[in-house]
Symmetry: C2
Subunit: 506 residues, 2 copies
């Protein structure tokens, strides 16, 4: 297609509306970024009102009868919405969004914004005091509203389906369960084998590394990856995240821990992976219905790929380790590259998801999925969550949180009303290895290139197979095109086994 | 009135609308702040579209026939809009805004946003290359659109009246001309007397002071003034400014120059003055039609008061100078407090408005007012501006800019479409001294308090006489209430003469 295709009058109406909705959504992203990066304490209440005002306008603009009529007319005009043209897919994506949003009454949306604004504050307090009871009534309301939300989408196969579908278009609860059921026993088996071995030392990284120098290596690495600073920036925030205010402005954040220098470096690579995906969506999709990522799992595949498959590989460190040694000689001068590599890949069942290693990470997700499905089915009650959490942590990982802050209160997602989100993290891990394997099959030189500090082939391949399509294809369709297979756990398990067999001499 | 007054149904409708408009306006402020403080280069184009989308929504929401009907009904309900109640004034302020905005057709507004977005970029380039011809066609379009805008408000006494009224409600071109005509000869006479004297040395401040230490003293001073950090923050930007995202979040910016340490310190006090005004608007006016400042001149009076009447006074430095000496001993150890005081008050006809001293500042404004009125009347043409500017600078201040960057291109205002704004700077100077004199008459101890580093009485008086009213009263009405007089140049002239007679031994 050309850069400026000629389109019908009705199509242009849809595109104009989509562009305006995109503008307003991006404005919301600016408000959210500022809230997490800059906002002084007393700014929260009015910011919440501003977010609500914006949410209301977006909802009203998009759910009017005129838009429904327009989309119906366009569907007739276009014919097959699964045709390969951008126009057909733009109508398909818009129709999907319209049908979802019109099901949600404005009062429920406003109630959700109001409840989550308060719940978020309550969660912050509950976490800082490690007291679940502060958060409990708020979470109960969120669960109640989320059930009401899911019921708007009846009939469904499973009450959790509508939630999952918001983050992972087309994915069903049954699909995810099946994937996880295949994954769990194999991952447990691997963990048991690892547990019998002596773990490599990682004391050299669990130290206070000067923040300014952590920033030097972080910026250096992602610059080489291909993160475009002309269209981005790196800031500090309590929780690392990526956000985009348009194709010309995709920002990331990080945080520097006092006792773990690995945290910021790997999370910076992770967020840069997200950001390079957004930066890779083509110019023709700017303010266009297809100009966003395919799904959260696809998004997470890009972040995990740069963080883990690249950033925790031997080849990566054979290039970057001398630079790291230069910056932190007090800890690393006497640590060999291979000892460093083994140390940063140490497997350790731990309490906190975001700091989990590759071998245990998915177990944290399975716990959360089980809880979310249980809450929605009514088989798990909010008041029982701390006990449920702690007993499952013991069962799956052999550790019990000493308090709720390090247990059920550790993640922000539920306080923001994001139920249905977590499984995309684990799916993203699986997708990352599926893409990686396919890429290596086509480009066997990539490990050598990594060892030379070259990343163009990787970014280029991801751009060609993933980024350039935006959300033109649903995630499973995209995976079929890119790899010949839907999302499947086998490549991930094979990757883990190979990697850890070598490190742990299994 | 109580915190939550009972109001009629129609009044509540107006207040709800005003609250939503306020939310949307504050969102625009967040976008603008981020653009100037954080935005990466390639973010500009989409940010412009987002600003336009927001501007369109605000305009549409506020100018509907329903709003007109509502305001008319409320006017009938309230009766006298000049009554002293908040309700009457809220209707008055809303009616004024509605009548102004409904006169402006949306296409003209959109055209202005589009033109100024491009003009701003052109101005940045023109300034950096010191080439007026790059900016000239854009400015010509802005002048043309501004004439179209002014003509929407016919009949008027003067074509410049509608522009001035946007920034200074109720003020007429004839009023400003009269004030400036009284001001000019006296200020010229003072400058001539000063020119005959030996200027005090200020070389110690025209130096590179370490930025981190400049920040220490800047934050220290405005904290003592009473700037509330719980509801604010200080960042870097190319041009210092203040902005508010609600009563809980009023931010300021500064910049550190390599060759003039006075710039950041005085501009930080200046911006803190603006910000403390916004922070002083009472909680009952949050998201209420009266919850903004009375006018730009009143706003500028607050900034200039803290910057000049406080920050350039002997008493201020008798308290803070030892701290400054501690931070910068390499320049100040051997400079006495009185030599420092005289140095920072050195009068020097110069090229750049924002760096002008108190005695020459208004001359810069008079030049700009003359140009703006000339452009609107058609007696000055855009293409002639560089020559016009340079000849007037020679006539008024005895200096000729060596290039356009230091001449006609120095200010951002016209590129943003803000014609009519400049005179409020000079009016703000006059207002600051009128308020100051009245405050001192009621609180003769204030100079002693300043010398002890105490500023509560000043902030408290300003709060009582100015801040607490928001925009309930128009500026001249507010000045009558606060000082017993409308805006008048005599106190300012008397202040300048007294101050400089002492410093220059006139």
């Amino acid at each position: 297609m050309s850069e400026k295709p000629e389109v019908s009058e009705k199509m242009q109406q849809l595109l104009d509306l989509a562009a305006e909705i995109d503008d307003l959504g991006r404005i919301g992203a600016v408000l959210g970024w500022d809230q997490q990066v800059n906002m002084p304490p007393d700014g929260a209440e009015e910011r919440g009102m501003q977010m609500a005002a914006l949410g209301k306008i977006i909802h009203e603009k998009f759910t009017s009868d005129e838009v429904g009529k327009l989309i119906a007319d366009l569907e007739a005009e276009v014919g097959d919405l699964n045709a390969e043209t951008d126009e057909a897919r733009a109508v398909k994506v818009s129709k999907r969004a319209y049908e979802k949003q019109t099901k949600v009454p404005l009062p429920l949306l406003m109630e959700m914004i109001k409840i989550t604004t308060m719940a978020h504050q309550a969660w912050v307090e509950a976490k800082s005091k490690s007291d679940f009871s502060i958060f409990q009534p708020h979470l109960a309301k969120i669960v109640d509203l989320t059930k009401q939300y899911a019921d708007l989408f009846k009939p469904y196969d499973h009450v959790y389906d509508p939630l999952l579908d918001d983050y992972e278009p087309g994915m069903k609860t049954a699909d995810v369960k099946k994937i996880f059921e295949a994954l769990r026993p194999q991952q447990v088996e691997l963990l048991q084998a690892i547990a019998e071995k002596e773990p490599p030392d990682n004391g050299f990284i669990k130290q206070y590394y000067k923040e300014e120098r952590q920033e030097i290596i972080g910026r250096h690495v992602i610059t080489r990856f291909g993160y475009d600073w002309q269209r981005g920036r790196l800031d500090l925030a309590a929780h690392p995240f990526t956000t985009g205010f348009g194709q010309g402005d995709i920002r990331i954040t990080t945080r520097y821990l006092k006792d773990d220098a690995g945290s910021a470096l790997f999370s910076t690579m992770h967020e840069a992976g997200h950001a390079m995906y957004e930066q890779g969506i083509p110019a023709k999709y700017r303010r266009y219905p297809l100009g966003s990522a395919a799904s959260l799992a696809i998004h997470e595949s890009q972040s995990r790929l740069w963080e883990n498959l690249v950033g925790r590989s031997k080849e990566f460190w054979s290039f970057f380790y001398p630079s790291l040694q230069m910056l932190f000689p007090e800890y690393l001068a006497d640590v060999s590259m291979m000892d460093f590599y083994r140390g940063i890949n140490r497997v350790e069942p731990s309490l906190i998801r975001v700091e989990a290693d590759e071998a245990t990470y998915n177990m944290h997700i399975m716990l959360r999925l089980e809880i979310e499905i249980g809450l929605m089915e009514g088989t798990v009650e909010v008041k029982d969550l701390p006990d449920f959490w702690n007993s499952r942590m013991q069962e799956y990982l052999g550790v019990t949180p000493p308090d709720d802050a390090q247990g059920v209160l550790q993640d922000v997602h539920w306080s923001d009303g994001n139920i249905g989100y977590f499984s995309t993290y684990a799916l993203g891990n699986l997708v990352s290895v599926q893409l990686w394997d396919k890429m290596l099959a086509e480009n066997p030189n990539i490990p050598d290139e990594i060892a030379q500090g070259k990343f163009d082939s990787i970014l280029g391949w991801m751009h060609e197979k993933v980024h350039q399509y935006g959300c033109k294809y649903e995630p499973q369709e995209l995976m079929l095109k890119a790899t010949g297979s839907k999302i499947t756990p086998e490549p991930y398990i094979a990757y883990l086994k190979k990697k850890y067999s070598e490190i742990y001499d299994l």
